[in-house]
């Protein structure tokens, strides 16, 4: 799943529900600054990073992220799929 863009407080449970509905194995890309950390929206209405509600495998920085940044993220996901797990980028807690 690619979470691209900001996630509002109202949308949070919906994103979580979509993640739960995904079949295993599943990987998540957090695309952009807003999905990764809340970005420029440091306020009451935006979830400060989608990794507070779902586990993220690859973060793509940028506002907006560059196309090659996203492609690199997809490549990293493919690497994780090949190597079974996080591929050494981040250890699952």
């Amino acid at each position: 799943m690619i979470v691209s863009g900001r996630v509002a407080q109202k949308m949070g449970p919906i994103v979580k529900r979509l993640y739960d509905q995904m079949a295993d194995p599943k990987w998540v890309i957090s695309m952009g600054a807003c999905a990764s950390s809340g970005g420029i929206f440091d306020n009451y209405a935006i979830i400060q990073g989608v990794d507070t509600i779902i586990p993220v495998d690859v973060y793509v920085p940028g506002c907006p992220p560059t196309p090659d940044g996203l492609l690199h993220a997809v490549n990293l996901i493919q690497k994780q799929i090949r190597e079974g797990g996080r591929g050494g980028i981040l250890a699952r807690a």
Binding site: Q9, K10, D42, N43, Y44, A45, Q48, D51
Partner: protein, 198 residues
């Protein structure tokens, strides 16, 4: 502050294409009904403003539009007329009559005003929050609502979360309304001192 803040609506520049009128909540519905019968068939917008140092605290603003009659030829098309109605709502009585029976699009606009400011509309068919989650506490667009939301302890984080457990409320910064007023006064004093030189 001490209540001597200037009412910003007095200083606003005049808009040539709109008639601006200020009205009390008691006469609001009759006036809007009269305007609708006069030809202002379109409610453009409904919003509210929070002036925390003013009495009444909130201003609910209605924008109406009178569109010209359907033209037969292009040279008969006239310009639409706008009307702006301001209604002061005191914090002791945060309630206004609804106008959803006059204009159906006021439905969601009034829900938004209720959600973000806390002004209830009597007679509204479905007055509930529209932008914030249903059980949100507080009205975010009031000036005394912290920007980051109220500081609160979150539920225990799942092990994969990379964030700390405490949601930061708005930290104390220097940017309060009083500090802003002081800066404005300082700048005005500077301008007055520089005037004889200019």
């Amino acid at each position: 502050m001490d209540g001597s803040a200037i009412d910003p609506t007095v200083l606003r520049p005049p808009i040539e294409d709109a008639a601006i009128e200020r009205i009390a909540p008691a006469e609001l519905r009759t006036r809007l009904q009269a305007l609708r019968e006069d030809g202002y068939m379109m409610l453009l917008d409904l919003g509210a403003v929070d002036y925390p140092q003013r009495v009444p605290r909130f201003d609910v603003v209605y924008h109406l539009l009178k569109m010209p009659v359907a033209a037969a030829t292009p040279d008969q098309i006239g310009t639409p007329q706008r009307y702006r109605l301001l209604c002061g709502v005191p914090i002791e009585n945060l309630s206004l009559p609804t106008i959803t029976d006059l204009w159906r699009n006021a439905d969601w606009a009034e829900r938004e005003v209720f959600d973000l400011f806390g002004i209830t509309f009597e007679g509204h068919p479905d007055l509930r929050r529209i932008q914030m989650p249903t059980h949100w506490e507080g009205h975010p667009l009031r000036k005394d609502y912290p920007l980051r939301g109220p500081a609160k302890e979150r539920s225990p984080r799942p092990p994969f979360a990379n964030k700390s457990n405490l949601v930061a409320g708005t930290p104390p910064s220097g940017r309060t309304a009083e500090a802003l007023q002081q800066q404005v006064a300082l700048r005005q004093a500077q301008d007055r001192k520089e005037e004889p030189k200019a």
